[in-house]
């Protein structure tokens, strides 16, 4: 299991390194848009949860991002994003998480990314079509109702209230296009696909067990079940995000 964790960490490090190594080789001043290289954007994200059922209402991500053109082709940036509610599938599957009912979930995402701009059609960073890669660190705050009992013989009622904070790391890729309006304003239309990894790791190898057993194991299983129930919706809500952003170039 430890090896699997390490593999994922390696993948993340590789993605980040390849993304940000571009900056190391940038030696000359980048042109930017008429000399303006810094873009600050407010992005409104829409993400439909890809679970067992898909609901019509998307999850809303509110994002503030800033990136800096380091060459004619590349921008490096950082962003903070959050959502206050979760609209997704209500599932009651066989795994541990099904003993928890998610009441409310707030997610904060902090990430860094690199945008690689297309050079076709005279585009120069930070304007034009781009491909984006990066990674987010997720802080997931969840409120639950839980069922007492074990996995095979649990109560049919969610009678316990609980809350918890879990974390996730999600590399992402995506693409979009940034338009410049009136030499200062920026319109950004984009989409992202991300893969929260911790959720995947948790799901592998922890597919069965009981919430309440004896001693420490019970408590561990309880916490794991809670974490799965927290990260699973977050995973689904992050798979595909469509964004529209407004901001300025300076």
């Amino acid at each position: 299991m430890k090896n699997l964790h390490l593999k994922f960490v390696r993948v993340i490090i590789l993605v980040l390194l390849s993304t940000f190594s571009i900056g190391v080789f940038a030696q000359r001043k980048a042109p930017g848009y008429m000399g303006k290289r810094f873009v600050l954007l407010y992005d409104q994200g829409f993400s439909w949860s890809f679970g067992r059922t898909i609901r019509g209402i998307p999850n809303f991500f509110y994002t503030l991002q800033g990136d800096f053109a380091i060459s004619k082709k590349h921008s490096l940036g950082a962003e903070y994003s959050f959502r206050t509610r979760y609209y997704g599938s209500d599932y009651n599957n066989y795994n541990l998480g099904s003993n928890f009912q998610l009441e409310r979930q707030m997610v904060h995402k902090i990430g860094i990314y690199s945008k690689m701009f297309s050079q076709r059609n005279g585009h120069i960073a930070p304007a034009g079509p781009y491909f984006v890669t990066g990674a987010h660190f997720h802080v997931i705050q969840s409120n639950f109702r839980a069922k007492p009992g074990d996995y095979y013989n649990s109560s049919p009622y969610y009678s316990i209230r609980d809350k918890g904070v879990t974390f996730d790391i999600a590399p992402f890729i995506g693409g979009g296009k940034q338009y410049i309006v009136a030499n200062r304003l920026v319109l950004d239309v984009s989409m992202r696909i991300s893969l929260p990894l911790i959720n995947i790791i948790r799901n592998i190898g922890f597919g069965s067990g009981s919430i309440y057993g004896d001693g420490i194991a019970d408590e561990v299983m309880y916490n794991r079940g809670k974490a799965i129930r927290a990260t699973q919706p977050n995973f689904e809500a992050n798979i595909l995000e469509l964004r529209i952003g407004f901001g300025g170039v300076m």
């Binding site: 940038a26 030696q27 000359r28 001043k29 042109p31 848009y33 008429m34 000399g35 060459s71 004619k72 082709k73 076709r120 059609n121 005279g122 585009h123 120069i124 304007a127 034009g128 338009y179 410049i180 309006v181 030499n183 239309v189």
Partner: protein
Amino acid sequence: MKTHIITLVLLQLCLASAIAQGFENYQPVRSTGRLPEDFTRAVADAARSSAADIPGKKSQEDKDFLLSSAFSLNRIMLGGKVLFNDPMAIFTNKVADELLKNHPELRARVRIYIIKSPYVNAFATSDGAIFINIGLLAQLENEAQLAYILAHEIVHVEKKHILDEYKKQTEISKGKGVYRDLNNSEKLLARSAYSKEKEQEADELGFLDYYERSGYSYSAIAGVFDILKYGHLPIDEIPFDKSFFENPGFSFPVSYKLADLASINTDDEEEDEESSHPALPFRREILEKMIKTRSGEGKKDYVVGEADFTYIRNMARFELCRLQLLDEDYNNAIYNSYVLLKEFPDNQYLLKIIGNALYWISFNNDNLGKSFYKNVEGESQQLAHLLYKLSSKQRDIDMVNVAFATKLKVMFPNDKEVDILLRQSVKHMVESHQISDKDLSEAYMNSMKIDTVTQAKPEVVEPEKKEEEGKKSKYKKIADSKTNTKTIASGDPSDSLNFYKYTVAAYMGTTRIKTIFKEEAAKYEEAESVRKSVKLNKSSKGGLDYKYGKAAGPVDKIIVVDPYYFGMTVGKDKKVKYLKNEQEEKDMVNRIEECGKAAGVQTDIIEPKLFSENDVAKYNEMVVLDEWLSERMLSDTRILENTPQTPVTSLGTNEIQKIIETHGTEYAMWTVSLFEQRNRKRGGLIVGMILLPPLIPIFIHRVINGGSVSHFMALAFNLENGELKLSHQKTIWDNNYGYIKNSNIYFVFHQLKQVDKAQ
């Protein structure tokens, strides 16, 4: 009125002083005075003003024509090829005064300009502008011929032939009325027939309405159509002596002289059904008939004056040589200069034209084409053959070029242009053949032992015959050549002799010349060692960075010359949006100014569309810079390369220096923007939308913005040394947004500002 009189008096004085000045220190002719209204008027205003001349209600066709005509006129005027208020234009206007002395209203409408083109042609626009090519002025025999040509063009103006033809062409193209059932070739014939009818009318009415009522003689214009017929030939037919390029150190092998010269084809052309003009024999016959029935008593060949005519024709001929050089017509440029040198011996300007032509032949040897001399007729074929022989060995033409440049340096030691020419020629020779100054000095020592390397037999022409020949006009000589076929005995072939070694030997005793050779050889050695060290150090990119393009800086200030914009709709409804084009070009100026400022590069934009009547100096600057670019472009495809052989131009150096001083920068840039709107078939996109609904936003984007392509190109040079500082080209599909244009323009300035860290 008072201002006009003062201007006229001043212009008269200019002409008088110019005539007095002669051609010893000839400099390319420039426009003077104030910019005429034709240059400063917006396209829409010009179209409106032309519309006022057409009585009655205007159809859409009329409006379209007037707009396109105003736009074309504007482009001609501001293209840098038009001369006004120069001696040639002043003289031609005086001839028009004589022709239109009884038509003051028409005279007020007619404006005459000179076009800097080597081709024999004249044309008129519907609103009264008449253009006479320098190539035509250079070939005239007398003032009366110019008067007749002007009379012909005046009829086109008075009768509004251009508008009529446009209407008729549209009618024929659209297949209206009687043209409904015609196929394409029949339509072409119909168009041609109508055009011929108008040309014939201009020939006849030009004679009857204007020429006949002026003071010009009838007999003087009998040969006027020969000017058109033999317009492709040089200004005169005199034997070319190859010893012109020889010097005391060497002479060419005898076989370099062509034994049989191709005689000039004097056969009259046959009637071409598709031509826009009637055949020359037909036109000549009609004119002859009119002349025969009239008495020419009291009529003269010259009304304005023979001295003035000879002066402006010589000026046209001097200009023609340079135009032919810029047109890469090297054989004619050299031959015409050679002809003029008989009248103006040792003329610095003409010799420099020849020197430059040789340099470009040597630099662009491939351009001459194999056996090009076979297509040349008459006496100039001798020169063409010599150039062909020399060009067949790159080394030979290079050495003869160096020898001629050296000769010029000896003749004009203080001429900066000659100095550049010689250094550039030596540089080219050293780089191409690694011939050092030591080799040349050795040749010099050897040459001291023998008089000349080969001894060509000079062609002996009897003095009386020579004088007699000299008095004849070109056209008379051509007529006489019908009966005399010239054959020159071929000499003994001694081609194997390496005469190239001795081409500059005669000058290698001069310290000043020797120094130039040494300096250029040393520069080459230095450049070579740098190149080798760069090769060894593989990590060095030599200033090129694929991510950024080439850093071209630091350039703090640059002259931007005539930013050009042209947009049109292509496809079924081919259309040029003239007014939009004019506006876009002005927008381009704003963008350039803004982007330059943002990048920290100061811009001096020479935009002809913003000229006022006091901007003649700016107009002339634009002309000089455009000519500089034309000459720089002679390096052909190598224009975009900064190879060690990048040529530096030398003609017009003094004027370029003046521009550099005035603007405080040695950098100049030319930009071109082209835009095509294509009619996209939208059916496919609609089907796509139905089949792939999630991609609807992308399809909508394609529908709105699709089907356009724009090109943007910028070339920046160092005017001092001809170095190409930057070349930027971009093709943009379907994204005709202002921010992309700005991005690209800014990027150009950004590159100009950046300094390469490797340097």
